[in-house]
């Protein structure tokens, strides 16, 4: 039933599905996309510093 509900309501081609009424112009969309990419790069940079060796890959593991 849950899947059926999702399939009935999900496709909302050409608009942001979960922010009703939000219509960004193409410049704002592109700028927002660039901001998200910068966030991803920051996350990767942070993770790269945090997990320098396989032994440190568990969250909360003390650095060697």
């Amino acid at each position: 039933m849950i899947l059926g509900t999702i399939l009935d309501t999900s496709p909302c081609l050409g608009q942001a599905c979960y922010v009703p009424g939000l219509q960004l112009d193409s410049t704002t969309q592109t700028a927002g996309a660039i901001v998200m990419i910068i966030i991803v790069l920051a996350l990767a940079w942070y993770g790269n510093r945090k997990w320098r060796s396989p032994s440190q890959e568990m969250i909360g593991a003390a650095p060697a």
């Binding site: 942001a16 599905c17 979960y18 969309q29 991803v40 990767a44 940079w45 997990w51």
Partner: protein, 205 residues
């Protein structure tokens, strides 16, 4: 008795969840590059799912696609059509990561992504014909994407540029210390299922 190894460790689950959450937010606010198809933009999920697959294996990529689908403009219909790409990338990623030369790593990553994207595309053609009725067969979409070049090249850049940059500049973040059982067979099965689906809409009869 051998101790059971979890499919994902805490770090991998965290990375997949964060990237999936970012993807969900990106789609919810429509932060994408306009101009792909009527009502469909060049979305960024490819960058998120690629990095998640690199860092956490196929399950990481799949987690991203599930979270993304909650707010994607094609909804959950698109969910399984990302997976051939996820599996294909995962199948070759460890070999790419272990290459000594940075240049070879980058070339290898782009080549595998280009092939994975090409494979993935056909499943989406099925979706656009069978569900969304953008055309009566897959061929106009194939010509638009592959002969027209720009749509394919744009998506290739989304799938390869940022993840490739992360591979080179943040290798600890995307170290592939994950395992996925029967990856070769699962990859083959996902490609065959996709091929069957797209053949049904190829207008060959």
């Amino acid at each position: 008795m051998m101790p059971r190894k979890p499919l994902l460790n805490t770090r991998q689950i965290s990375v997949a969840a964060v990237l999936g959450g970012l993807s969900l937010i990106t789609e919810a606010f429509g932060l994408s590059l306009p101009g792909y198809l009527p009502g469909v933009n060049f979305n960024l999920v490819g960058a998120y799912l690629s990095i998640a697959t690199m860092a956490a294996g196929p399950l990481g990529g799949i987690i991203v696609t599930i979270l993304d689908s909650f707010t994607s403009s094609v909804g959950f219909y698109g969910l399984p059509f990302y997976w051939p790409h996820v599996f294909f990338l995962a199948l070759f990623y460890k070999r790419i990561y272990s290459m000594k030369s940075t240049a070879m790593k980058v070339v290898g990553y782009w080549v595998v992504t280009a092939v994975a994207l090409f494979i993935q595309y056909w499943g989406w053609f099925f979706l656009y014909v069978y569900v969304f009725k953008f055309a009566t067969t897959i061929w106009p979409l194939a010509v638009y994407n592959f002969v027209g070049v720009i749509p394919y090249a744009t998506f290739l850049a989304i799938y390869a540029l940022i993840p490739g940059f992360v591979l080179v500049t943040a290798p600890n973040f995307v170290r592939p210390n994950w395992n996925f059982p029967y990856l070769k067979w699962v990859t083959a099965a996902s490609i065959i299922l996709s091929a069957i689906a797209v053949a049904s809409q190829a207008g060959l009869r």
